[in-house]
């Protein structure tokens, strides 16, 4: 299997403070990895570092995506290369509708004008999968959306932009059971449409019930302390993180 993402000895600081202290992680094309760990341990930092948030400074180590070192690649170009981060707290962008936003992003990626009719058809079908009313497409991006609606809007973008690799940062947190099921259906659809690699940062197992997990990682204190198969998810859920030095 070809290597999609290779993270080696990654150290990341925010301001003066080092948060990630040497992370190694390899994700092959089409694989689903789960990242677990207590709060404040650096999981979201890894997500931001991968997508290239300038506030998260890589002080050591590197990120290689599809064989290319991303050190000098800016965030928007990482996105164009096929990387996607589902934000924990998506931002509100007044005046930009969800639909026109996705269209702009697609046009940026392909460099071609998106054909309106086909786009609309695909968007509506995707909204249906996520059980979102079609009117959401014409609402301002995330403005006045509930927590659950924002998360669905992130998955909508995932399905429309079809990146090869996506990081889902606690996309399931704060959602009720039905919404988790919908998001989960969205992820399955993504695997069906694109078959891309996934890094799922989560606290719960619900979102994973219908998804095949290839590897599970436990992060504590800025490093990955344990890697295993999908059964590790259950072990962590039963016993917590104590056994890993928490």
């Amino acid at each position: 299997m070809s290597k999609l993402l290779e993270v080696s000895n990654l150290h990341v600081s925010v301001g003066e403070k080092e948060i990630l202290k040497g992370v190694d992680l390899t994700i092959n094309a089409g694989e689903v990895h789960v990242l677990m760990g207590p709060n404040g341990t650096g999981k979201s930092t890894l997500g931001f570092a991968l997508i290239g948030n300038p506030k998260y400074e890589v002080t050591e180590g590197k990120i290689v995506f599809k064989g290319e070192d991303l050190s000098d690649v800016e965030v928007n170009n990482r996105a164009k290369k096929g990387m996607f981060l589902s934000f924990q707290n998506p931002l509100e962008v007044p005046g930009v509708t969800l639909s026109s936003f996705i269209r702009s992003a697609l046009e940026q990626k392909t460099g071609e004008r998106v054909k309106l009719w086909e786009f609309k058809k695909k968007l509506d079908a995707t909204l249906d999968i996520l059980q979102m009313d079609h009117s959401y497409a014409e609402r301002d991006l995330n403005v006045g959306f509930s927590g659950g609606e924002k998360k669905k809007a992130e998955i909508l973008q995932l399905l429309m932009l079809e990146p090869e690799f996506a990081i889902l940062d606690e996309t399931d947190s704060g959602l009720d059971v039905d919404a988790v099921r919908t998001v989960s259906a969205g992820i399955e659809e993504y695997q069906k449409r694109v078959g891309g690699g996934l890094l799922i940062i989560t606290h719960s197992t619900k979102i994973l019930e219908s998804i095949h997990v290839d590897q599970t990682h436990v992060m504590i204190g800025g490093t990955i302390v344990k890697t295993g198969d999908s059964s590790l998810v259950d072990i962590v859920n039963e016993k917590g993180f104590e056994s890993y030095g928490e």
Binding site: N76, N77, A79, V93, G95, A105, Q108
Partner: protein, 291 residues
């Protein structure tokens, strides 16, 4: 001429108590309007529109301005009981163009006056609007978007005089300043004794994108009535870093993000244009002048 006068003057040194465009209107042609209409101006004119909405009637008037000259537009609005007047001004003027708009209006019981201003053009804008909310439960809503750039002056003034009970005003202006832009925006909510139960809200958002800019903002709340609620909020700054990062994480670069936001500022107002033909035309004009 002198216009855009602040209802209460402030420090004279700031030079914003009024505006003095270098123009004297000639004899104005008066046009009486009682039905929805679309009016196009593509050359210099001095015009007076007398817009009257009869009781329980709703009318929309669209004024499109595309020229290299001065349009002096005086509009007198009378919204009778439970009526609604929507006045939409679209300025897609070219270099050297100038729109001088002076709107006065009165809102009777349960009536509404809505002012929508789409100002992406290249010429100067002087816009004055004072609405008397005399009737109980009358409502004034004003929404303005502008793009100001080098050599262009944008000078705005909005006044809502709350006189009737339970009246409401919503005064909102959003704009973008590019290199060399000069803009002044005055907003006043005036609660006059007797206007019990009234509410007034002003907001201003200014996106600062260029160098050598001059941005003046004066949001007034004047009040002689106890039982009211008035608020003002203003935010001025460059593109928010986090918002920019969010857009970039979807592959949209800084320059494109700026374009997207500029378009968004105007797109928000397109929703208020309920005449399909005018809307399409405006969209077309926006594409032309927003390059």
């Amino acid at each position: 001429m002198k216009m855009n006068q602040l209802p209460a003057f402030t420090f004279a040194k700031l030079d914003l108590n009024f505006a003095e465009p270098d123009y004297e209107p000639g004899k104005t042609k008066e046009i009486k309007i009682t039905e929805s209409s679309v009016i196009n101006y593509n050359e210099a004119s001095d015009v007076k529109l007398k817009i009257t909405a009869e009781e329980n009637k709703e009318i929309s008037v669209f004024v499109l301005f595309t020229a290299r000259d001065t349009l002096y537009l005086k509009a007198e609005l009378e919204a009778k009981k439970a009526s609604k007047i929507k006045l939409v001004e679209i300025d897609a003027s070219l270099n050297e163009g100038r729109l001088i708009s002076d709107v006065r209006g009165e809102c009777k019981e349960d009536a509404k006056i809505e002012l929508v201003q789409v100002f992406p053009g290249l010429g100067d804008i002087y816009s004055d609007c004072t609405i008397e909310l005399t009737g109980d439960r009358s409502f004034f809503e004003s929404r303005t978007s502008y793009l100001s750039r080098k050599g262009k002056k944008t000078d705005l003034n909005y006044v809502a005089n709350h006189r009737g009970k339970d009246t409401l005003s919503e005064i909102h202006a959003d704009g973008i300043l590019k290199d060399g832009a000069e803009k002044t925006c005055r907003q006043t909510v005036n609660f006059i004794s007797g206007a019990a139960g009234s509410k007034g809200h002003e907001t201003e958002h200014v996106l600062l994108l260029g160098d050598d800019i001059v941005n003046k903002s004066v949001p007034l709340i004047l009040c002689t009535e106890e039982d009211v609620e008035g608020t003002h909020g203003a935010a001025l700054g460059s593109l928010d870093d986090e918002m920019l990062f969010y857009l970039e994480s979807r592959g949209i670069g800084r320059e494109d993000a700026e374009k997207l936001i500029i378009n968004a500022t105007f797109n928000k107002l397109l929703r208020y244009i309920d005449d399909e033909e005018t809307k399409e035309k405006t969209e077309h004009l926006l594409e032309e002048v927003l390059v």
